[in-house]
């Protein structure tokens, strides 16, 4: 893709949007901290799940034990190691989040771009579809659909696809609004005057200008997807055992929040940290992609 770094024969690179953004991002301490924490959680979760795949399904006789060396996050009422559960759940949530946000990003940007750039009838039709999806409560659709799709117990993939299919509307509306404003800017006319096709104008000029908005809202979708999955699990419609998610653990633990608080606070805290990291990263990306904003920080 064109926005990635290119090397000249002399080895001297041509400054591209991507390389500038990356350089700016590297100066953003907040965002870097967010990434670091996020990656650490990811690695620990991966390693733990690989080394001890049975961790969450091995029953012990330690019922509702507080954190100790043997069980750093304590155990559940049924004697399961909570750290294994939290990490496995975090991994599961992240997989769902990646699928959902990718779907929201691709569908939302495509629909918003087409509607905003071409306008007219196409715009009206697409936006009515979006309206339709927005007015019907998301949760209701999910409840109905998840019953149909996951009659044999919630498959994480099916749930991810469902949430993804329903959460692109927000991005599409924002991208459309952004495109409506951007397409009237003179540089768009100038690039058409230089022989750019509609496809070229959209991919090379409009999307790069809207990338900040797109990035931030994609990260919001990531957080939203994790929370939505938690809600579904909480309602018993999401992921079902033996699969595990943080939302499910929070739901299980909330009843004992006062008696054995670790059962609630570890999964909830981990969920909070992950969502916060994603927000901070998104914020940093938006700043990094705006050449003006980022240069001023020097």
């Amino acid at each position: 893709m064109s926005i990635f770094r290119k090397k000249g024969r002399s080895g001297e690179k041509i400054e591209t949007q991507w390389s500038t953004a990356m350089r700016n991002f590297r100066k953003d301490k907040m965002a870097l901290t967010g990434i670091a924490i996020f990656v650490i959680i990811l690695i620990v979760a991966l390693v733990q799940t690989m080394l001890n795949p049975k961790g969450w399904s091995t029953l012990t006789t330690d019922f509702a034990k507080p954190p100790s060396w043997h069980h750093p996050f304590g155990t559940t009422d049924s004697g399961l190691d909570l750290m294994s559960g939290c990490l496995k759940g975090a991994l599961q949530d992240l997989i769902i989040a990646v699928i959902v946000s990718t779907m929201a990003l691709v569908i939302g940007t495509a629909v918003g771009a087409v509607a905003g750039y071409f306008g007219g009838l196409l715009d009206s039709v697409l936006m009515r579809v979006v309206d339709l999806l927005l007015v019907v409560p998301l949760l209701t659709i999910l409840i109905v659909m998840s019953n149909i799709f996951s009659s044999g117990g919630g498959s994480p993939l099916a749930i991810a696809l469902l949430i993804g299919f329903l959460s692109w509307t927000y991005i599409s509306r924002l991208v459309r609004a952004e495109f409506l404003a951007l397409r009237e800017r003179p540089f768009v006319e100038a690039s058409i005057a230089l022989g750019a096709s509609s496809w070229r104008v959209i991919t090379r000029h409009l999307i790069p200008n809207a990338i900040g908005v797109i990035m931030v809202n994609t990260t919001l979708t990531v957080a939203g997807a994790i929370l939505l999955e938690s809600t579904l699990s909480y309602l018993g419609l999401g992921i079902v055992p033996p699969a595990v998610s943080l939302g499910m653990l929070v739901q299980d633990g909330q009843g004992s929040a006062t008696t054995s608080p670790w059962q609630f606070f570890f999964p909830a805290g981990l969920l909070l940290i992950i969502v916060l990291c994603v927000f901070v990263i998104g914020d940093g990306m938006q700043a990094a992609f705006d050449p003006r904003n980022a240069r001023r920080r020097k």
């Binding site: 064109s2 003179p186 540089f187 690039s191 230089l194 022989g195 090379r204 990338i211 050449p291």
Partner: protein
Amino acid sequence: MAQPVVSVKGLEVSFATEGGMLNAVRGLTFELAEQEVLGIVGESGSGKSVTALALIGLLPKTAVVKGSVEIDGEEIVGRAEKDMYKMRGSKIAMIFQDPMTSLNPVYTIGWQIIEAVRSHGKVSKDEAKVRAIELLRLSGIPRPEAALDSYPHEFSGGMRQRVVIAIAMANSPRVMLADEPTTALDVTVQAQVLLSLQSALEKTKAALVLVTHDLGVVAGMANRVIVMYAGRVVEFANVDELFYRPSMPYTHGLLGAIPSHAEDSDERLSQIPGAPPTMLNHAGGCPFAPRCPLAQDVCRSTEPALEPVATADGSVHLSACHFRDEVSSMPVASMFKGAEQILEGAEDSGH
């Protein structure tokens, strides 16, 4: 004369509006050879920008275009949008009015020029980069290598306009259109930008259509001038002919409205009273008649044809005025002095 680069015949552009058909351009005809500069002047709404957009096929879809526009022998009018992509940038390029907004803010200057170079024809990235530096140097950017990595917002207006010119000449187009290229710039920068434009023309041998309301720019750049009024050509002449022997009262008015820097000119500028007509349902008669101090009955009833005026050197000088020969022998703008005094009197009595 060699094969003309641009050949416009009977160009008509109209827009369907709620009030009826709005005729923005009515019967425009001209030819332009390599390296020739045609100035198109006129007030806002006279149809000059619409003409420029028609030449590059960028009019909104609501526009009805008739007549013929040939660029390098290829017809533009009625051409499918898909085929226009190939023409734009390679055969015909446009320089827009406001350099502050006509560059994409999220890309470096280098990226944008390389993009333009590579968009037509197969050029490697390295070659494109070398060409980009060359183009920047030609358009008068100091330290072009360093400029490649700059963003548009780091450049001043004049520098940006030079970048825009560099992009326009990237594929050596046959014709360049400049729509008010210096209007948004400081006077001191204008001259530099015009110089860049001139060297761009020499390098690419392109023809230039210069749309402007600045007669100073026209005097400095153009070989020939079209004066437009109410969507119509009202005068067409070589630049010297037009400035020394204007043959249409409207041109007199435009020339009289240029501030003079001569020491002895403490006169007030003359102005053309009234406002240009809308081109909605034009009734007939000379469209300038309501504002013309010389208007007679014939002017209000019959629209004058664009016909030749006798010239000393035998060059073509056309004027759309019933009294073209009389007007051409009058001192520049003298006829508007009266109007000036009338307005002044009205102003005094108002106080």
